[in-house]
Point group: C2
Chain length 411, copies 2
Amino acid sequence: MVTHKKKPIQAFHVVEDGHVTSPKGFTAGGVHTGLRKAVLDFGWIHSEIPATAAGVYTLNSFQAAPLKLTKRHVDKIRKIQTIVVNSSNANSCTGEDGMKKAQATVELTAKEKNIDEHLVAVASTGIIGVPLPFGPIKKGISYLNDPLYQKVTNFERAILTTDIETKHVAVELEIDSKTITIGGAAKGSGMIHPNMATMLAFITTDAAVDNESLEYALKSATNRTFNMVTVDGDSSTNDMVLALANGIQENLLLTKTHPQWNEFLAGFQYVCEKLAKAIARDGEGATKLIEVEVLGAKTVKAAQAVAKSVVSSNLVKAAMYGSDANWGRIISAIGYSNQKIEPERVEISIGDTIVVEKGVGIPFDEAAVILTLVKDEVKLSIDLQQGSRSAKAWGCDLTYDYIRINSSYRL
Amino acid sequence: MVTHKKKPIQAFHVVEDGHVTSPKGFTAGGVHTGLRKAVLDFGWIHSEIPATAAGVYTLNSFQAAPLKLTKRHVDKIRKIQTIVVNSSNANSCTGEDGMKKAQATVELTAKEKNIDEHLVAVASTGIIGVPLPFGPIKKGISYLNDPLYQKVTNFERAILTTDIETKHVAVELEIDSKTITIGGAAKGSGMIHPNMATMLAFITTDAAVDNESLEYALKSATNRTFNMVTVDGDSSTNDMVLALANGIQENLLLTKTHPQWNEFLAGFQYVCEKLAKAIARDGEGATKLIEVEVLGAKTVKAAQAVAKSVVSSNLVKAAMYGSDANWGRIISAIGYSNQKIEPERVEISIGDTIVVEKGVGIPFDEAAVILTLVKDEVKLSIDLQQGSRSAKAWGCDLTYDYIRINSSYRL
């Protein structure tokens, strides 16, 4: 198989058990406020000093109140110091009342932390269209400075809805002879309670990063990672990724012209990719992670479109659940991706086994392929043989549990 | 609720137990050839005289051999006289061999029926990527003139893969004081054997229709009916709709300037809609038909995009399976349809019950809505309140059976 991989610049190394608090100057915590029955439901990240901030937000027309407010605050002076997050209620499609409560959350948080309101970001995830109970939120805010609850694992638990696993990572690298760290935490889309479909991710770093460059890094990494994940094709009203850079390590301000910019970018992207894959793996009802790599495309956009088409196909996802080497479904999903495909060039591999060459199925060792498919990580490779661009997308299989979870009545 | 419905011109009436052979001059039949184990697997439609023909074909880049050949024949002089169809094998992604066998099917059919080759159309549905066994095809063709097998119900059965029900309809109307009839048959996407995902539909009429006008009628009806059906979002390499008009009733040639053109169009569209809904209802594992109507859109295209986004959402489909009045998922799917939605205007009804007004949930009688949702036809209405255009889309619920069917190993 012709490969077109570029070796990434990997100056970073992965921090064992890394978190959003691995970078210097960040604390995080979480508490139980009563929004959910017996589990943590309110969390926060706080930076000692205001951090340069960048955000990417859902493209869903129905943007939730906390998301709108956070965007306004990030845009103000591109600084955020405290992020508060609640799970259980998305405060979405809640009209005027929702906006007032998001605003009140910000006001109380700013007061408790003694900072300007526009330095506060707020995120919510949970049921859509139900008024946010404000008593628990108020209670949660009262813990913001309580030393008992400053535990990053509390934060990571508090932002989950029905995700099974917490999702966190950190990497370290040397920039201008300073050790800088990039950390991340995320929640995915578990929806045992219907309407809960939000992806939230938070990236922190103690590097000094120029605000436009941070925004560029976030957008570019998001396009290659979070935006390449699909659990069920539904994108939520509350999806948001926030990045904070507090600059405590006092490196020379990172911009695109900094000689180590690409090293920083590679570390930043690794953190995002790790979280994105964790979200896919923990999709509702999922038993395995599916990675689709498309090689040999004319453009990255075309590669991404094909990869997403395949990883989003219900038929492919159901076949993966059944460990079925069903390349006809893969080829069909490539074909309807709306890209200019030359069928007679396409090559498809399942794991390391080539199953389609020049657009036509070839004999292969079915037993060996099934052994690949029963693993909890499955890789599908598609070589379009039209150019040198590539992309990856991640998803999960479609299972009985997905139906069980999503057909259940609301509580 | 503001409604924007235009009353359609309905000069036609529905023929009881109507078929593709209800129009004069058409015969159809089907036999068992051995492609499938014990059921009919080869069928045909034949017109006494060459009929004006129009086709619409899958946009999937991987077009199957029979589809390419049929398109070439239809384009030649816009006449088709005999259509042969096999199920069980799609003759898709089969390279040179596939094209040769499609060509040989045409040659033998033309010889058997004593007509020109370019008057023969050929369609296949079934597994992708497996060489077409030609012995059975040859055997099937040998029955084309056998009076024992000229039974339209045989045809309707022979084209099915794992569809449960045959799908057929006919309407009659007066044009120029002649009674003309429009009939139709279709198969949907049942895929117990993986890779079988083809939608085929055949429309016949004994009206005289100008070839460009027939093409217009077919494209316009397909856009509003077959293209608005989704079972699982996967579109096949073999999808095709063919329309044949043999003109035996000797009405004045129907063109867009004929005073009764709109009456013909309404009848034609009814036939297509009936078949499209039957396909949705008979989707894999489906327990109910879901109709999504979008009103108050600025353009038909926007209305269609929103309707398709909602009816394609796995979350909406799973909620419908669970008879869950889960409007948060509907609103989310409206929001990510890539249309310019004004959230504060949107109204959503489940059955006759309004559940969202001005983009915000309102109290409703949940018990009454559940009674609506447990029926085997569910209607969701969305009023965007931005204009006067509307569209409908049809789909089915997402069920355990869908997973069972699609995760099973290939035979």
